[in-house]
């Protein structure tokens, strides 16, 4: 048993068994993170390159820490100061990194499909840390890990994802992952941000948040980019919060035992009220901790896939 591909490009390419294996392995790594010495020599001698074309503190540091805790050497390729600004093409940048002997390339880019491109053109294992509006697989995996940890199962749960689904790679990866693992998925948000065609993926679509959250087990809030208000997706953030913001009243529509999740960073008062974000049912901080274990598991399992 093992992952079938040398890369983790997206959830679309994984099956339920792959996802189970990653979650099980992550559980083992979470134990490691509970010790005093949080480092293991498993991937000693390997080199990890962080290739982040989009600025990101939390995801990059999470991957960096995961790679270091597995004893790999980590190089951060900071795009704003590098040859890319001088007009170097994506392909040339990638080949240069490969020539440096990278075993893992963690890539985040504003264009969908970049992770695919790199995976097809490089021998190294490529991990997609977010490409355009396509996928962010490790986020979905850590979200599922958190759900499984808290609820014991994923199959049969009803999960509501609320917000800008159209532009959210986190939402898409979660939709694919939750469906593969047997959860029910509801998408909630304004019609401009929740494409109707997604019904074909066997999800329910709601623009009425009260109905959308009724009796769900998990409420997954997405970050609203404030810039979208100028472009006709919704008039103002005030109106957005009124219709689709998560307040304690709205949350009470869900099951009493429902959990509140958010990939971060949060826009308090735009998509989520502070009461809820800091409340008892929020597992937002657990998501961050679990992110580290999940990313270690991904790197460890990918290292075992031979060319």
């Amino acid at each position: 048993m093992g992952l079938k591909s040398k890369d983790l490009i997206g959830i679309k390419a994984l099956d339920a068994a792959d996802i189970e294996q990653i979650l099980d392995t992550a559980a083992g790594f979470k134990d490691v993170l509970g010790r005093d010495i949080k480092k293991v020599p498993a991937l000693r001698g390997k080199t990890t390159v962080n290739l982040f074309y989009e600025p990101s503190t939390r995801t990059r540091t999470s991957f960096e820490l995961a790679a270091k805790r597995l004893s790999t050497d980590v190089i951060n390729f900071s795009v704003s100061t590098s040859s890319v600004v001088k007009g170097e093409s994506l392909r040339d940048t990638a080949l240069t990194i490969q020539a440096l002997g990278a075993d893992f390339i963690i890539v985040r880019h504003s264009c969908s499909g970049v992770a695919h491109f790199l995976a097809n053109n490089l021998d190294a294992s490529v991990v997609n840390a977010g490409d355009g509006t396509n996928e962010h697989p490790t986020q979905a995996l850590l979200d599922l890990f958190t759900i499984r940890e808290k609820k014991g199962v994923i199959r049969g749960l009803e999960v509501a994802i609320v917000g800008d689904i159209l532009h959210s790679r986190v939402a898409k990866s979660n939709i694919y992952a939750l469906k593969k693992m047997g959860a029910g998925v509801r998408l909630v948000g304004p019609p401009t941000l929740v494409p109707d065609v997604l019904k074909d993926l066997d999800v329910e679509i709601y623009s009425d948040m009260d109905r959308g959250l009724k009796d769900v087990d998990i409420v997954m809030m997405l970050r609203i980019q404030v810039e979208r208000q100028g472009k006709g997706f919704f008039p103002t953030t005030v109106e957005y919060f009124r219709n689709w913001g998560l307040t304690p009243e709205r949350l009470s529509m869900a099951k009493k035992s429902a959990l509140v999740m958010h990939p971060g960073p949060m826009n308090r008062g735009v998509e989520i009220s502070s009461d809820v974000a800091d409340g008892m049912r929020s597992v937002i901080l657990d998501q961050v901790t679990n992110g580290l274990a999940v990313r270690m598991a991904v790197l460890y399992l990918l290292a075992g896939v031979k060319g």
Binding site: K12, C111, G113, N134, D200, L201
Partner: protein, 433 residues
Amino acid sequence: MRVVIKNGHVIDPSQGIDGVCDLVLEDGKIKEVKSEKSKGKGQRHEDNRGTKEIDASGKLILPGLVDLHVHLREPGYEYKETIRTGTTAAIRGGITSVCCMPNTNPVNDNSSVTEFILKKAASEGACRVLPIGAITKGQKGEELAEMSIMREAGCVAFSDDGRPVTDSLMMRRAMEYSRILKVPLISHCEDLALSAGGVMHEGLLSVTLGLKGIPSQAEEVIVARDIALAELTGGRLHIAHVSTEGSVALIRSAKKRGIADVTAETCPHYFSITEEAVGNYDANAKVNPPLRSRKDVEAIKQGLHDGTIDVIATDHAPHHRDEKLGEFDFAPSGISGLETSLGLSMRLVDEGVLTYSGLVEKMALKPSGIIGIDRGTLRPGAEADVVVVDCSREYRVDAREFLSKGKNTPFGGWTLSAKPVLTISLGRIHEWE
């Protein structure tokens, strides 16, 4: 020089010919088409002085194809293609007349550029080049270009292709004015606001790939607008690269009601592949208008079958190999189509969508009529533009073998079965295996 092409299956809808004939060419013109019945009658030529005989048994003989929509890229983008390489690719594909779009650098919006193109074509072109001039200066959509002067210089039609004429009033004026020219305005129908930032067809696939979509309606609203303006102005409208079911329906209705002088073209990719060709972000499948859904492909075929769509053109859009690598979003749109057009279009005959005659109409006769040139025919006295096609053996499309500089095709690896083996153009005979 006298050339006799013997025993080929001649398809010439302009004369109602569809059968085995000998084709006799003399001094660069068609002399006669001798059917089985008429052979043996009439004078025998005793002297074989300078007669070249070509045996075309088992092959098709067509009038040289006329492509209304080609980007030759010269002047300005010679790294993608030149008039020499583009016309060489054309004759390889059986195309002997090529209409080149004005989105060069500088734009062909004045007679100097038109003359440059014609001069280059005269010295380096492998086939006839007919320039299409811009409708507006710089294709900016703000001021009319000197269409009359360009017409005199040699332009056969006008278009801002690459872009639409966004301002409806501007398009109205252009159509009204163009009535003095008696040539069509070729419209690239796209509502730029609706399509903004889009890189593929809008649908479930674009959402799950995370690529911004271009809805069918971005094309259809401008098709409807331009038909309405043609009705208002009495101008001649030719709709470029039709790609959607809705567009076909609008054109069909307009023709039925007889409200406007409208013709329409489509391209082989719109009846051969769907949005699924994008696959895992293959930029070779990135084209504008984008590849659409299965439904749209069927509607395009129906439109060709019932005459709603008059012409098959390639919209040949060569790009440099490096430009199609990397980020899908940044890749330029376009398919290098001259060398696959006939093979893909012949599949329509195999599928019963068109007959051989119907195919030649769409690819040679009708286009000639639209721009008013005497081509697409094997009538005695016509120019000797001829292509001999071998349909008996299959071949695999390999972009590395393209004579065009543009290797950007989503059809790599496809098995096709109509291969030009001989093209006669500009008085020269070109033969290939």
